[in-house]
Symmetry: C2
Subunit: 209 residues, 2 copies
Amino acid sequence: MDNQKAIVTSLKAFKEPALQEALLTHGQILHFQKGDTIVKIGQYVRFLPIVLKGSIRVFQQKEDREFSLYYVREGETCTMSLAAAYFNNKSVSHGVVMEPTELLIFPANFLTEWQLQFPSWNQYIIAMFRRRYDELINNFEGVVFEHMPVRIMEYLRRRVITDESRILNLSHQTIANELGTTRVVVSRILKQFEKEKKLKLLRGQIEIK
Amino acid sequence: MDNQKAIVTSLKAFKEPALQEALLTHGQILHFQKGDTIVKIGQYVRFLPIVLKGSIRVFQQKEDREFSLYYVREGETCTMSLAAAYFNNKSVSHGVVMEPTELLIFPANFLTEWQLQFPSWNQYIIAMFRRRYDELINNFEGVVFEHMPVRIMEYLRRRVITDESRILNLSHQTIANELGTTRVVVSRILKQFEKEKKLKLLRGQIEIK
DNA sequence: ATTAAACGGTATCAAAAGATACAAAACAGG
DNA sequence: CCTGTTTTGTATCTTTTGATACCGTTTAAT
C-alpha cells in the first residue's frame, strides 16, 4: 500500500492532500499487457483511467486500416474517455496498450464531485483537453495538406525525438497503421528514402541519418 | 441592460441564478460582421467567447487551400488553444465569423473559477470539449478513410439537415474550402452526381434529391 | 451600359495512392 | 534443422486527385 501511495503522490499535478487521498481510496491500480484493449468503439465508458506507467494508443479503425489519434502517456488521462464517461456515453475510438502498462482507474461519478472540490483537478482536466486538441490539430494538418512521403518522414523524425535514438524499432506495417495507409505504400516510400540516403532499412528497424 | 439580461438568461445551459448573474456582470457583448477574424494563431485564447447569435468558422489554411475544423454555434463556446499551428507555421488556424455574430466575452480565468462553484458550468464546459472532439474525430474519419465523392455527399447531406432544406446555397469553391480540396475537383464530382440524378446543379445552388 | 469579378464546365496531362500478387529473407519455436 | 510466420521488396495495373488552362455565363459594381 505504501508502494501504491508513492505512485499516486508522484502524480504531481494533484496538489490537495484530500484529492490525493481520494485518488488512493477510490482508485484501483490495474496492470495490462501489450495488446490489451482498454476501450472499444461503441462501448460505454464508466471509468476514468490515469496512466501511471506505459502508454495507451488511441486510434480509429475501418476495415483493415488503422489511424492513430494520439497516445496517452505517463501522468496523463484519456480525454475521450473523460468526455464519454461524464455523460455516460459510448466511446468513439479504440484504446489499446502498446507496452506493459499500469493504470489508476476510478468510477466516472467522482468526476463531477472532484470538479466542485479541487482546483488542481480542474486544471488537470483542462490541460489534458488542450494537449489532446493540439495533438489532433497537428495530425490534421498532416493528413489534409501533406503527401505520404512528408508525413512518413515527419513521423520518423518525431519518433527519433521521443525515443531518443536514431535507430527506430518498428515495422513498415506499424507505420502504415499510424498514418492510415497500407504497408506497400510505406515500403515503397521508405525504399525511395533509402536511395536518397536519408535512412537505412533493416528488418524491423530503421536508422535515420 | 434588460435586453442584455434577456439574452444571457436565454442560455438555458446555465441553471444557477448566481451564475447567470456572474455572466452578466463580467461578460461583455461584442458584435462582429461577416469576415471579421475572432482568433488567429499564436497563443492560448485568453478570453472566453460564448456565441449568442451567429457562428464562428474555425479552419486551417495552407497556401491557397482551406479546411474547416468545426463551427462554433449559438450557445456554444470554444476554449481551445490554437497554439499547435504556431509551432510549425506551415498552416494557420483561423476563427472567422461567417455572418453577423454576437459574442459574450469574458476573461479566461473565470473558466476555472466557476468550475468550483457551478455544476452546470462544469457540465457545459465538458460538453463543449466533447462536441469539438466529436466533430474533429468525425472529420478525421472522413479525411483518412473516405474518398472525395463520399466526403462531398456526406457534407451535402449534413447541410440539408442543418439548413432544413434540400436546396443549399453554396458555391463549389465553398465546398472545396470546407473539405480541403480544389474547386475543379468539386465541380467534377458534383457533375458526376448530377448525371447519376443524385442532385441538380444551379448557379450558387445545389438541390439534393 | 460597360466592365470586372465570381462561378461553373471541361479537357488534358501528371502525380499520388491504392489494390493485388508473388517471392525472398529473416526469425521464432519446437 | 524444419516449418510456419513475419517482414520486406517489387512489379503491374487502376483509381483518385491534383495542376493548368481556357471559355462561357451570370452577377455585381460603377
